[in-house]
């Protein structure tokens, strides 16, 4: 009923995995990074991103003429899951590589492709996405930000909330209403690519309960952008955003955000010796992670076939994000380590896991919304 099938990776992908593991081992040996929980959200490191770009591991699936590498989505899956499991600092390029590169390739003009894609593939052009607003959270169709057509392009007015990385991004994709009123819901919305910084756009930090600045409020005060900033078709913004969701929801980051904590706990347990309860729980979480990875891989294989498995993606995201929280809860209960912000090792990873856990089941679609999507996919809504 949920139509996805298990997929087995081939030799080429396993070879690539070995290369990524060797690269990461070298990076760790030179202390280029410390593993972090939720590193794809909260651990930006432009220099690390550029090193990935040098290895050809960003913009992997893009055509060569746009600076990409003509690799398959499954090869990208392997690189990405290795980076996430290692807790590597991938946040700077994350949104650009995951979402904006495929979206600009799909919907962008030739000019937009040539302007942004090569930089994304080099690890030099980072993106933010302006979707949520003060009155549009889970209900994204309620966006109020307006784009008015003016003589020299478009004029944007409104406020975006929870915009990850807008304080270091070079560009931002904005979902705004070009036509009609908020009551028109899904029709009349359009996407724009806006270069940052911009004199008419103010980026203000939102500090979250982990004490850090990952998110922003972005205020557009009659910000004028060129006519060529429209991404895709005028009025097709909603369907373009929905097409991105399968990319956004099904990836390995939806179950691996706390993998560095689990990996560290297993390593520590191995050194210290495992009691039967701990052994059983390590086995339980390992089985769950193995099964979730197979689901995530099955969805990736569907995406690689050119399909848009939005229902399975919602299902995987729901299961994966609740697993991320379960990892934190299990390690907390059994490791008996007091969480310490900014500390190394288990105490630091646990602090990040605990403080980030409310976000897991909210970002990219709250679990309740995802289950509604699944129910609709089953044909009962």
């Amino acid at each position: 009923m949920i139509d996805i099938s298990a997929h087995r990776l081939g030799e080429a992908e396993q070879q690539l995995r070995t290369e990524v593991r060797e690269f990461l081992a070298k990076e760790r040996a030179t202390e280029a990074f410390e593993p972090r929980c939720d590193a794809w959200m909260s651990s930006p490191d432009p220099a690390f991103s550029r090193r990935l770009g040098d290895r050809g591991w960003l913009g992997m699936t893009l055509p060569r003429r746009y600076g990409g590498h003509d690799r398959s989505p499954l090869e990208r899956f392997v690189v990405v899951e290795e980076l996430l499991a290692a807790g590597a600092p991938v946040a700077a390029h994350w949104i650009a590589d995951r979402q904006m590169a495929p979206s600009i390739l799909r919907h962008g003009t030739e000019e937009q492709r040539l302007r942004y894609l090569p930089g994304i593939a080099r690890g030099e052009c980072f993106f933010a996405i302006g979707m949520s607003e003060p009155d549009a959270g889970s209900d994204l169709a309620a966006v109020r930000t307006r784009a008015r057509e003016v003589a020299d392009g478009w004029e944007l007015t409104g406020t975006k909330l929870w915009t990850t990385g807008a304080h270091f991004a070079h560009a931002m994709v904005v979902l705004a209403r070009t036509d009609g009123t908020p009551e028109d819901r899904h029709t009349g919305l359009s996407q724009f690519v806006v270069d940052l910084p911009h004199p008419g756009i103010q980026v203000r930090p939102i500090v979250t309960i982990d004490g850090e600045h990952h998110f922003n409020e972005v205020v557009f005060d009659r910000a004028v952008i060129p006519g060529g900033a429209l991404l895709g078709e005028r009025g097709a913004g909603w369907s373009q955003v929905m097409a991105e969701l399968a990319d956004e929801r099904s990836g390995p980051e939806r179950f691996l955000s706390t993998a560095p904590l689990l990996a560290a706990w297993v390593a520590e347990t191995r050194d210290a010796g495992a009691d039967p309860v701990t052994t059983r729980e390590i086995g339980r979480l390992t089985a769950q992670a193995w099964a979730l990875r197979q689901l995530s891989l099955a969805v990736a294989a569907e995406l690689a076939r050119g399909r848009s498995p939005d229902v399975p993606a919602a299902l995987v995201k729901d299961l994966g994000s609740s697993f991320e929280g379960e990892v934190v809860e299990t390690v907390r209960r059994l490791a008996q380590v007091e969480p310490r912000r900014g500390a190394g090792g288990l105490a630091g990873l646990l602090a990040e896991g605990v403080l980030h856990s409310p976000a897991f089941t909210l970002r990219g679609g709250a679990s309740e919304v995802l289950r509604s999507v699944v129910a609709r996919g089953l044909g009962v809504r």
Partner: protein, 324 residues
Amino acid sequence: MSDELSDIRDAVDAILSDHGDDNRALWRTLGDTGFALLGVPEEIGGSGGSLAELAVVVRAAAHHGAAVPLAESAGLAGWLLAQVGLPVPAGLVAVSLDEARLGSGRLSGRCRVPWGRHADHVVTLARSDAALRVAVVSVAGGELARAENLAGEPRDVVTFKDVPVTAVADTEISSADLRRRGALLRSVQLAGAAGAVLESTRRHVGERVQFGRPLARFQAVQQQLAALAGQVTSIRVAADAAVLGGEQETAVAAAKATASAGAQAVTSIGHQLHGALGYSTEHPLGSATRRLWSWREEFGNEAYWQDRLAAIALGGGWWPTVTR
């Protein structure tokens, strides 16, 4: 699923639908059409075919609630015979879950034999001095004690005392290998039965009207149905992945742990959403849930396989285990 596998599934679905509850006639038809010995090499008298093909048929049979010994006969007994190149004996061949003892061509021991009462022969691992062998023995030579699992499937015990074997061969196979293979097949069956629960539940909440509207119109029901679909899909994809992985221990351990652990949510949500109607033997739901409750324990439940998986992860690293 490949086209060949879909063709096999469609063919076996048609046979299963035709037979209703007549399991004896169904087993005869599965024998006549070659499905009963799928995955067993032709050289020893089987129908040939891969583990993936056998898994498709095993899952379909479980989905339909067919009480047939496909997993035990083709999947385990036939597989054991194939490992040592012994021919498949005539009639129904069952498998022993316990090692017997072998001396001077005679076999002794207490053997748990699923479907034993219907079987003509039993294939068993048997210890002879220090060596392990595969032996074939006639069920009629032993004393059979009947027992059933929660779904009413025969889980008999056959006790042999110095019974002459009809065939024997040396083997490298161990009881652990047999258990792993059994766990893989049960994972596939659990996926089939879980799929049946989801299908029945979806239909029920769409049709059953209470408080003036179909149950499916209630958000609380939708959320539970989605949670059920999540568990069922996890179980199915994990089992399929373990089949693709070809009996490799990490995959089997993870798949059986997933299926056995997931059976709890599948059965409880399935029954909850069916209301009291699903609790009657007149409703087919119980046929699927009783199988889930039985199969989750057979060939090691989730605790057993979680411990195995933990040993692998503690030995070889957590992430290498997850990606195996």
